[in-house]
Amino acid sequence: MTQALRGRLPAAVLVGIGLAALYEGSGLSFGSVRQPGSGFYPTLVCVALIVFAGIALANPPRTGRIDGGPSGGHARVWLVVAAVAVYAWALTPAGFLLCTAALLVLLLRGIGGVSWPISLATAAIGSIACYVLFTRLGMPLPTGVLGF
């Protein structure tokens, strides 16, 4: 992707969101200026979003952090995103302790390059410490297969 195109992409996405919301909101009752309906305000906001994002689209940044970043950067980012998504899906059935320990091992060993023994020990201690601290503070965390 060229630098110019990359600079315009976020504003284009915002324009797209504005247009999609305008379409989705068209089903809501607009009412009138005297009696504004449910769709009155969202329509105004969508128009504002399209206009401002359109101005940003017409004036892409000349400088800024829009480089690709270090090699493998995006792969690591999407690995973490996928891991957190799986964490959310598995949290209730597997429980907080197992899920958190597994995620910590991935982040420490897989992403951070910390040695296996330290990763495993930190993951075990960290997840248990969080569980004890937050359940003591009154936050019920899912017990899952371990039962506690």
Binding site: G7, P36, Y41, P42, L49, N59, V80, V81, L103
Partner: protein, 506 residues
């Protein structure tokens, strides 16, 4: 009730043993998150908000406020010793603070930052005490048109004063307003943008959003970039090393005073807060200095001014929230959330209805500032060590905090996915230079803006003139128009007049 009686009432609340303990916990946590880059005060307050369910409202507010102003103290430690700003408000402190540290004056830089912060925080609180009651009285006259004009001015200010290009900031504010409409219509209870989901009918939760935008996005940014080991300045040993010399005190005194005033005034403005105030205070000191070339090379005024400004701004940032019920920044939006969580709506009636809470919170900040001074000076070496926590350990720490914070809102894993979505959005927004603060503030202010707009139009039978003809809303609207028109006028004037050289900030 006179101010002295009010203060006595406030201290009787804030000096209760339980409140003292929560105040200490808050400032300690604040210092820690200020020291650790990545985990900011907003994400920490969002994490702890669900935990405050079981606490008394006053204790919860005292603790959460302590996290905020404590983080300002912590941020300066890493800025001076590591050239890493723990908080964005400490960016300017890096420039001269780190240079002082490299020249063996780390102790004086840390000392002046701590003393300056304490003095400015105290002066800011005096301003808050003097200004809040009359402003709350004035706010009693506010109706829907005034609230609409005020929210419009707030969102315009946050877009114009924040970092980055104005159209991008305005687009983010509009997106925030749009996200604020998800759920049931506040007037007719019609579902909007819910796509048939029952979970979305309650709207998007603020906490997962903040955890994602300000916490998870930092995780992704840290994971994306390969961290480079920084050069650390040696932390001073012993309290004596933290005391600035007489000459340094003389140089810094004026900067502390001016920084306090600037910080206080800028901190009231929506979206400006500690970061902008520290920039303005630094720029002013440099411009009025007889030796501006010293700035960036270890000038003590370059540490004193921004640190004083950001601490004064934390105090004045409470004014719009406590008197009008409107948050001036993201942290205040979370504080608003804390009030609402306990069934209290901050605003003009808070002072009359809950004076013990109002004054208890304010006086706790005096106590907290004193605690921070006592805590920071002897423990600077320890905080400096903590600041060197390697990124491989920092990433899991922030990630787990975000996961627990998001899950804890409703004990629902769906909120983790919401947090993750906003994390990815925040990651790309940061990389492409889109400011996140307008989005969050607009999201928080959006429902009030919509309700007041619709009520105003119903009251006036569809006449938009209602916003201009009522004195307070007319003035607020005029200020908004002025704010928008000024850059355009300046640009036109710039095209006609020959360009003049502007001295660089740094």
């Amino acid at each position: 009730m006179s101010i002295l009686e009010s203060l006595a009432l406030g201290f009787s609340v804030s000096l209760e043993p339980m409140n003292l303990a929560y105040c200490f916990l808050g400032v300690l946590l604040g210092t820690l998150v200020g020291v650790l880059p990545g985990l900011g005060s907003a994400a920490t307050i969002a994490l702890l908000l669900p935990v405050t369910y079981t606490m008394s409202t006053t204790s919860a507010l005292i603790m959460l406020a302590g996290i905020w102003y404590g983080s300002m103290y912590g941020g300066s430690t890493t800025a001076i010793l590591l050239r890493v700003p723990g908080e964005s408000a400490s960016v300017m402190t890096c420039m001269d603070g780190y240079e002082m540290a490299r020249r063996g004056r780390a102790g004086a830089a840390l000392g002046i930052a701590a003393f300056g912060s304490f003095i400015a925080g105290t002066l800011g609180l005096v301003g808050l005490i003097l200004l809040a009651p009359p402003l709350a009285e004035l706010a009693l006259d506010f109706g829907p048109p005034e609230y609409f004009a005020l929210t419009l001015l707030g969102l315009t200010l946050v877009s114009y004063l924040g970092a980055g290009a104005v159209p991008k900031a305005l687009a983010m504010a509009a997106l925030g307003l749009l996200l604020g409409t998800v759920g049931l219509d506040p007037v007719r209870s019609e579902a909007r943008f819910t796509f048939g989901s029952l979970t979305l009918q309650g709207g998007i939760e603020l906490i997962p959003m903040v955890m994602g935008l300000f916490g998870m996005s930092q995780v992704l940014l840290l994971v994306h970039s390969r961290p480079v080991a920084g050069e650390f300045a040696r932390a001073p040993r012993g309290l004596r090393a933290l005391l600035p010399e007489r000459r340094e005190w003389r140089d810094a005194a004026g900067a502390i005073g001016r920084g306090s005033v600037i910080g206080f005034l800028v901190g009231i403005l929506p979206g400006a807060g500690g970061t902008i105030s520290s920039y303005v205070a630094y720029a002013l000191e440099k411009r009025r200095s007889a030796h501006p070339e010293r700035f960036g090379h270890g000038a003590i005024e370059g540490v004193a001014a921004p640190e004083s400004a950001n601490n004064a701004a934390t105090a004045s940032g409470f004014i719009p929230l406590l008197t009008l019920g409107l948050p001036a920044n993201v942290v205040m939006a979370l504080m608003l959330g804390a009030f609402m969580l306990h069934g209290i709506t901050p605003g003009p009636t808070l002072l009359a209805q809950k004076p013990e809470m109002f004054w208890g919170l304010i006086t706790s900040m005096f106590v907290g500032n004193l605690m921070l001074l006592v805590l920071n000076l002897p423990l600077i070496g320890l905080f400096a060590k903590l600041a060197r926590l390697p990124t491989p350990y920092l990433v899991p720490l922030i990630a787990v905090a975000c996961l627990i914070g998001a899950y804890g809102v409703n004990n629902n894993p769906f909120d983790i996915l919401v947090m993750l979505g906003f994390g990815v959005f925040g990651f790309y927004a940061e990389r492409f230079g889109f400011s996140l603060a307008p989005l969050v503030l607009a999201f928080v202010l959006g429902p009030l803006m919509e309700t007041s707009l619709r009520q105003s139009l119903i009251i006036s039978d569809g006449a938009f003139a209602i916003f201009a003809t009522r004195p307070i809303s007319g003035v607020l609207l005029g200020l908004t128009v002025l704010m928008v028109a000024m850059p355009l006028v300046r640009r036109l004037a710039g095209q006609r007049a020959p360009r003049r050289a502007v001295p660089p900030l740094a």
